[in-house]
Symmetry: C2
Amino acid sequence: MKVVIVGAGGVADSLSRAVKSVGHEILQIYSRSEQSAIRLSEVLSCSYTDEIENIDRTADLYIVSIKDSALSEIAERLVVGRENGFWVHTAGSMSMNVFGDVDRGVMYPMQTFTRGKIVDFDSVPCFIEANNSVNLNKLRDFTKSISRSVYEMSEEQRRYLHLAAVFCCNFTNHCCAIAEYMLAKKDIPFEVMLPLLDETVRKLHSVEPKVAQTGPAVRYDKNVMAKHEALLKDEELLEKIYKLMSEDIHRFSKA
Amino acid sequence: MKVVIVGAGGVADSLSRAVKSVGHEILQIYSRSEQSAIRLSEVLSCSYTDEIENIDRTADLYIVSIKDSALSEIAERLVVGRENGFWVHTAGSMSMNVFGDVDRGVMYPMQTFTRGKIVDFDSVPCFIEANNSVNLNKLRDFTKSISRSVYEMSEEQRRYLHLAAVFCCNFTNHCCAIAEYMLAKKDIPFEVMLPLLDETVRKLHSVEPKVAQTGPAVRYDKNVMAKHEALLKDEELLEKIYKLMSEDIHRFSKA
């Protein structure tokens, strides 16, 4: 397929490389930052633009990978003059209807993308939706060409999926950021946590999270929890997080 | 060394197998649950007891792996009549002084242990402390015989380490348990989260957590966060956790 990529951030970076590597033709990269557009277009050996007006009008598929707030703002302007294209975005929490009444869909690649760190797209679960069965078939074929895990999912289901992803990825990462911060107070490098973290996640490949829980909160060991809270007494938000998470772990264990 | 293991839970299980496998002699297992004591003693081909009075008095090293609250309760009784032994516990948040004025120390294996799931001890970071340099040397040699990652650490440092472990392991696991719970509302299996979870943690082997953060909270994308909060509106504790974690992610990103 002839593809235009709208966006040049972390998702667009990994996605566009995957799209090109399996033989699709990338016509153009658009980014409102000319520098980002140039950088990615050089990687992909394609043209670029930083002007919405100059986005190519002949593509079969437009993949829009930009911040949700930007997507809301510019989706309608993107489509103008390109109403015959198939418009797909990659945002987990957004409706395909942001594009209006055109061929449209969503391809949500559920992974954490950091610009500059290329993700192997083949192992990224992709959740797709389209406005009719013809487009769904088209999007399924396309997505299967770049990922071996393709699921159909309604907008309603995808909302929950996106929320769950925030818990599994961003909040997990923040738990580690808090750990790093507390360890730094005693000059302990975060690296010492990695075997524990790896095992915690490895375990979840065979045991469901609720059952896998260990530690003071699930045992409701008030003595240990009080000691931990004492270490956090000058860290108001962290102490609140500690108490809430402990309370909720205990609640889950009883449910 | 001739070793007595006090406890038969998850830590005692993996630890005692490691101790035996490198050639130390396990004289006996004590557990207040006779059934647990029998089970582990059969694995280790050693004797067992469920009576404190009958714990062997000739061991070089007593390793106590029981719940923190039980440790506080019975530590002194354990030592009576065995004052010449070297007493070591495995509890991250407890002082070695629970044993009183004997040869004493701590060997905290920082890993998540679930009874029945044997952990390869060689890769478990172990944090040691002892009441004098002779005992520290003895404990270091012993611990190095079962783990390739042995660190000396003061009680004060270990307190922070233990707290960090709760964030990295228990709270991370709970974030996944919440994700599982929310996904179940829409009949989505937790398994779809595993590639994201794996990548989140893999990234932390090369990027520090604070820098690795992605998602709506670090971008402070109020639109997305409001949608997530709406999905949690009937889940008081989960909504609170969502808001607090998002606020704290944002705070970290500015710091």
